[in-house]
Amino acid sequence: MKTTNRAVRTPGGLSLRLDVRAFTVVLLLLVAALTASVALIGTGDFPIPAADVLRTLVGEGDAGQEFIVNELRLPRVLVGLLVGASLGLGGALFQSISRNPLGSPDVLGLGQGATAGALTVIVLFSGTAGQVAVGALVGGLVTGLAIYVLAWKRGVHGYRLVLVGIGVSAIVTAVNGYLLTKSDIVDAARAVVWMTGSLDGRDWAQVWPLLGLCAVLVPLVLVNARGLRMMEMGDDVSYALGIRVERVRLLLMVAAVLLTASATAAAGPVSFVALTAPQLARRLTRAPGPNLLASLCMGATLLVAADWLSQRAFGAEQLPVGVVTGVLGGVYLLWLLVTERRAGRI
């Protein structure tokens, strides 16, 4: 597949460039995400047909369905979509900045960092769900900052970032283990459930902060996407093209850490979505560049589809979504390692 770029121009001299294939992929992924969402809303102890789900969503369902859809299941699905989108976009940013598919938040230990924050709140303070989320957010941000500071030497990039991330990840994992051994059995059970990553019991209180954050960060990231595309050609080339490389990189790193940490705070460390979504998106669009929008849509689709699968196959409440993404993502990571090794990049 060669370039499918089309330019759209107005007589006033404005012009937009559109990769037709990438655009189609984004549209199809949006449709897939919405379809999976409707299916997910219809799934549970009281199955609701898709037609009724849609009717209820536009406000024309009966009272019973309205309660189940709007109060119980819709927020859960929205959290799933937002978490998946944040992880997909965050992962795409990290992979593009590090120029390495392994430079994902999962590998860099941001998930573990958020977990450490959450465990601290659960084990040491027996905090509420809201406090746990704040703890996870802080843990993720501190870890992101630590990685950035440790890996900073004339710009963060490449294997340096990955290696520092793996080191940080190992340390934080040890801390998490220690926290778990210190906890009593009730807290430990709660901690382990949180650590698996789950959408169970998510309500509107989780939706709003996530939606607010995405409303700010996603446009901010997309405005800087052109600079990021150029930065894939190396720092020197992008400087020469007039990009303030350090500034764009810092801004996008902060955005990526915020997206990943807040997603983790809302749903626990759902594993491997940030690693796989950008790679799968890229294989569909076949376009060079960070493929930010496609990764975002792919993340949302993956997470909601994985949640639907876990409920469908094993019944609600039995299998947290993190297990499904973990199994699928683990297989994918192995495949990635093998192909990268064959290509001589590891």
Binding site: L14, S15, L16, V223, A287
Partner: protein, 278 residues
């Protein structure tokens, strides 16, 4: 006053000082070539001239303004750079890569004008890669790839173009190809070119203005015919040689002295540092 110059700059990486109090003028409309032994600071100087490296003292001026204080995109419309290290993103086509050179002329609402299209075609034609437009960059040979990167720098349409060792890793035919292209850009389009070259004979043949650097200082500068002598080569590179007229062009041609003739002479001024700064 020339468009690009460095005024008593001190150039250093962290604590390692490469050049002190160095002043350089790039003559307008020249094809300036910087030569010197490894680690003499020639690439470092080029990095400073292209604002990749901020001088610890002194300043680099572009059109009379301190280059660091100018808007990044404005500099990028005036001064282009072909660096040594560049990465072709996975799965990018030649046309797409060359098109990226238009970035400084674009904006969020002006992403791909007819002018962009025209310049990209023109740049690919000049560098002879037009027929490769739909090929993937990773499929190309080294010589083709270098031409593609040059095409990208050309698409930037800058009156000043800096090239950091554009012929390294190319075989002799492709080296000459690239240098011919540079000469064309200089002669036919009036662009000011600054290149770092390793090969003194190439430099003497193609440059209109030669700058010989050693240990961060300018030893000599001027037209190759006027400055390239056996004494200069010995002083700068520590190599005994004869300088004769190039039978093709009449420019100076450096012929190193035979090994046995050099064996008597103790290694002179030209001890080359073990580490190379590039």
């Amino acid at each position: 006053m020339n468009r690009l110059s460095a005024e008593s700059v001190t150039l250093a990486y962290d604590q390692r000082v490469i050049a002190e109090q160095l002043s350089v003028e790039i003559p307008d409309n020249s094809f300036t070539v910087i030569v010197g032994p490894n680690a003499c600071g020639k690439s470092t100087l080029l990095r400073a001239l292209s604002r990749m490296l901020k001088p610890s003292t002194g300043r680099v001026l572009l059109d009379g303004q301190v280059i660091q204080s100018m808007p990044a995109k404005k500099v990028a419309r005036t001064l282009g750079l072909l660096p040594q290290s560049s990465i072709a993103p996975d799965g990018i086509t030649v046309g797409d890569l060359v098109g990226r050179g238009r970035y400084p002329h674009q904006g969020i609402l002006r992403q791909w004008s007819t002018e962009d299209e025209r310049v990209v075609q023109e740049s690919m034609r000049q560098t002879g890669v037009a027929e490769l437009a739909d090929r993937y960059v990773d499929e190309l040979s080294g010589g083709q790839r270098q031409r593609v990167w040059i095409a990208m720098a050309l698409a930037q349409q800058t009156p000043l173009l800096l090239l950091d060792e554009p012929t390294t890793f190319l075989d002799i035919q492709h080296q000459i190809d690239v240098l011919d292209l540079c000469a064309e850009l200089h002669e036919e389009q009036g662009r000011t070119l600054v290149a770092v070259l390793h090969d003194l004979n190439h430099a003497a043949r193609y440059a209109t203005h030669l700058i010989a650097l050693r240990e961060g200082r300018i030893v000599a500068e001027g037209a190759p015919k006027d400055i390239v002598t056996a004494e200069l080569v010995e002083e700068v590179f520590g190599l005994r040689c004869q300088v004769i007229d190039d039978p093709e062009t009449g420019t100076p041609l450096v012929v190193p002295a035979a090994r046995k003739a050099r064996a008597g002479a103790a290694t002179g001024a030209g001890e080359v540092a073990a580490t190379e700064v590039s």
